[in-house]
């Protein structure tokens, strides 16, 4: 386990992606936030940080952001503006602003050399795979299927396409989203036959479908759960995931675990998303 540290960092850049959207008061929906590199000894793709503006007063709540990339100079986070009291404030950060960060937190994705690895990403779920491609010893083994609602200019897809094989599927008309799910399932079947693994990140509805298919195929699959995390350290109990009978610690099988500390990356067979999302199993 990598020990997290809490530190104050400086924003070096905050770049909006795509076009401003009227529904958000003219602001952009997606941003790549770059901070100076924290003094981490190590980190894993799939892990996250907790972040809050330093000068936000006493009522600023921190929000979790998945780590996109870590370079020798910087920590890059890619996020979607989603909430009134959360990520909208991050969109207003500018170079020179100070932020409080604690991390790296949680579990990371499995990295297997010489193993065909299917990366399934939907919308902002593309974020952790940039760092994953950076760290993978054998990027030729990687192939990404990326489904998205908005034009590809809204995402850091072009920068990633140079490092790994990538296929885009954009929703243009109603039903395209389902087509993305169908293609994802077909590719999972292929990777099962080729002895590969699958890693997925995106909205919970999407991950639920991947989870179901992974169990059906018995394809080794990891999911980065985007549950609502709050404290990031396992204290608030805001993010709970139910384990399956396969959970490594038998004492905790079938019980709730904290997504932020036992995850956010879980093996599909270790968790029970029917118990987490009972409305999907009706």
């Amino acid at each position: 386990m990598i020990s997290p540290i809490r530190t104050e960092l400086t924003v070096t850049d905050n770049v909006p992606f795509g076009q401003p959207e009227p529904g958000l008061g003219g602001t952009h929906r997606y941003y790549a936030l770059t901070l100076e590199r924290p003094a981490w000894k190590n980190w894993e793709p799939g892990q996250f940080i907790m972040l809050r503006p330093k000068d936000g007063g006493t009522v600023e709540w921190a929000r979790p952001l998945t780590i996109c990339r870590v370079t020798s100079q910087s920590l890059v986070l890619f996020f979607r503006v989603a909430s009134e009291y959360g990520t909208d404030r991050f969109a207003r950060l500018r170079g020179g602003d100070k932020v409080i960060v604690w991390g790296p937190l949680g579990t990371g994705f499995e990295i297997r050399s010489n193993t065909p690895t299917l990366l399934l990403a939907r919308d902002a779920g593309i974020a952790p795979f940039a760092g994953y491609a950076d760290m993978h010893p054998d990027p030729a083994c990687l192939s990404m299927l990326f489904g998205h609602q908005h034009p590809s200019s809204h995402y850091p897809a072009d920068a990633m396409a140079s490092r790994l094989d990538m296929e885009h599927l954009r929703d243009r008309v109603p039903g395209d989203c389902e087509e993305f799910y169908r293609v994802s399932a077909r590719k999972m079947q292929e990777y099962k036959e080729n002895g590969g693994i699958c890693l997925a990140c995106g909205p919970m509805d999407f991950l639920y479908g991947v989870w179901k298919k992974a169990l059906e195929l018995e394809l080794p699959t990891q999911l980065l759960l985007s549950a609502r995390m709050n404290c990031g350290v396992g204290a608030c109990l805001g993010c709970s995931t139910i384990t399956s009978k396969h959970w490594p610690d038998p004492i905790r099988a079938g019980l709730p675990v904290h997504t932020c500390t036992s995850g956010p990356v879980f093996w599909a067979r270790d968790i029970d998303l029917d118990a987490v999302m009972p409305e999907r199993n009706m």
Partner: protein, 305 residues
Amino acid sequence: MDLRVSLVEGILELKNPILSAAGSFGSGLEYQPYGDITQLGGIITNGLSLYPCAGSPLPRIAAAPAGLLSSVGTQNDGAEYFIREVLPRLPWQSVPIIPNINAGRVEEFSELAGLLAAEEGVTALEVNLSCHNSNRAGQRFCQNPVTAARAINAVKRFAGNKPVIAKLSPEIMDIVEVARAVEAAGADAISCIGKVQGLAVDVRGRRPVLGNVTGGLSGPAVKPIALRCVWQIAQVVKIPVIGVGGITCARDVLEFLLVGAHAVSVGSASFSDPETIFRIVQELPAVCEEYGIEDIKAFRGSLQI
């Protein structure tokens, strides 16, 4: 500066008046990477029940202006798991460990108290009187002075010499009456306030934000309510009062001491920054000096009306 506080002489002695609040600091182990938890006045752990509890449906947390709305539903692994797996890892020899206990029946409170109080590592118990009483159609124990007193009396009978802290909700007609009742029932201290019930809604989805529909509001938004409750209670009871609600800095601590609190519990501010509670402990002496406070015992309850 001497910051020591005695809540129960010889038994519940704090090295400073700052405790962690239930529901916001886990067991304490979660915050070890961010500070020395033995430097706190005490650790009030997340709520425990007699048996494991899966808690409320997701989502459980919603941010609100100046506060957090949450409904966790006392998710926990049960008291026996706490005793077996968690308590041995806590530095109970160096800092008072105070489990927060939850139950739906008086008998369950008794059993919980007996289990936990038998442990050397448990210094005291905090009784969550906001729990729903299953024998009274889900009415909260604290909504009625009689049921609140019964719960405290049941815990006291099984707690041996371990002090019992009654945690009160502000959502009752007369919190002073309930405070008097729990004092008469044997409570050694009172902590207040518990969370204030609220609702967050999603206009686009036309649904409640929380899976449990309603939740408890905490954070700076509730501090004035907490100060009022502490002030009212501290005037009428002889037992110590622990202030809880919206404490984010050392000056907030002084506000609670000024209205009569012996100590405070820091809650959701730990979610804003995991170093918050450690920083408050560190800064309190300097802030006392800044306000000309030489003796916190003399300062306590010195509000002039």
